[in-house]
């Protein structure tokens, strides 16, 4: 359960959009987190590892800076057990590579440039996520 926070949701979304635009304007790249992260693993197809590490480093440092800025720690509540974390993590990694993108690459960047693949992938993963939460919480009776 969480409260409706329209303003921070809109501001946070705009920041994510700015990040994507900056990356495109400066380097010509799509801000796809799964693409960056999956290519940190071998086999290496190009020499862009440092660039990918730079993005991931910024991403990891952001919550630290943010919590210093607001004066308390970031709200993160994970209710899943270790086994669920491992299964879900594997599915997210596998699905992102097979589907060619994740929430950022398809959901934000691809949708913004009206890529037909992204316009299919995004409702499919949002729908699958909604069905999964429905089954876990309302059919199986919750975690």
């Amino acid at each position: 359960m969480s409260t409706f926070t329209p303003y921070s949701a809109a501001v946070g979304g705009a920041l994510i959009g700015l990040a994507a635009v900056l990356l495109m304007v400066a380097t010509g790249r799509i801000a796809g987190v799964s693409g960056f992260v999956s290519r940190l693993l071998p086999p290496y197809e190009d020499r862009q590892t440092v660039v990918r590490l730079a993005f991931v480093t910024g991403l990891i440092l952001a919550p630290v800076l943010y919590s210093v800025g607001i004066g308390h720690s970031v709200n993160i509540a994970v209710s899943s057990s270790l086994s669920v974390l491992l299964v879900a993590g594997f599915l997210v990694g596998l699905g992102a590579v097979l589907g060619g993108g994740c929430t950022s690459g398809h959901g934000v960047c691809g949708t913004a440039r009206l890529s037909s693949r992204s316009l299919i992938a995004t409702p499919v993963f949002v729908g699958a996520g909604m069905i999964t939460v429905f089954v876990v919480r309302h059919v199986l009776g919750g975690q």
């Binding site: 921070s8 994507a20 400066a26 987190v33 992260v37 060619g100 995004t122």
Partner: protein, 150 residues
């Protein structure tokens, strides 16, 4: 310059995840829980991100080329096939189970270390498995792999 700009982009992206609450799996699951106590906040986050990106991309593409690189690297117009739909569905199931997707999970490594660590470790294994599957099917089809971009 590419490295610095990419670092700043990652930082802005991560701040956006924190401000919007997308970094919090509980909030993500509340967004996905349409039959329960639904919190539509993240729909606003997605809409806001897509609008800013859409407008910014148009301006970027109008310039002709990026500031610090030769060309825009836009994923080619690919086909809509079973792999795309199956991949997105598998991704969505994992996303719903915990409430983490790749960006928030990696960002959370610095603040919610243990659950994020296990999730990211398994995610890397899933990515490696996915890349292996993609390369196998590319070999079978005797043509270059469609890269898992974005």
């Amino acid at each position: 310059m590419q490295v610095i700009a990419t670092f700043v982009s990652g930082l802005l992206f991560g701040l956006g995840l924190c401000v919007s609450g997308l970094i919090d799996p509980a909030k993500v699951q509340s967004f996905l829980d349409v039959a329960g106590d639904w919190d539509p906040s993240l729909a606003i986050t997605m809409a806001s991100a897509v609008i800013v990106t859409g407008v910014g991309y148009r301006m970027a593409f109008a310039r002709g080329k990026p500031l610090f690189a030769g060309t825009f690297q836009i994923p080619p117009v690919g086909k809509i096939d079973r792999r795309l739909v199956a991949g997105a569905a598998i991704f969505g199931i994992g996303w719903g189970l915990v409430g983490f997707c790749p960006g928030p999970a990696v960002a959370a490594l610095s603040v919610s270390a243990e659950p994020a660590f296990w999730f990211v470790l398994a995610m890397l294994a899933g990515m490696a498995a996915g890349r292996w599957l993609v390369s196998q099917s590319a070999v079978a089809a005797q043509k270059p792999a469609v890269s898992a971009n974005s």
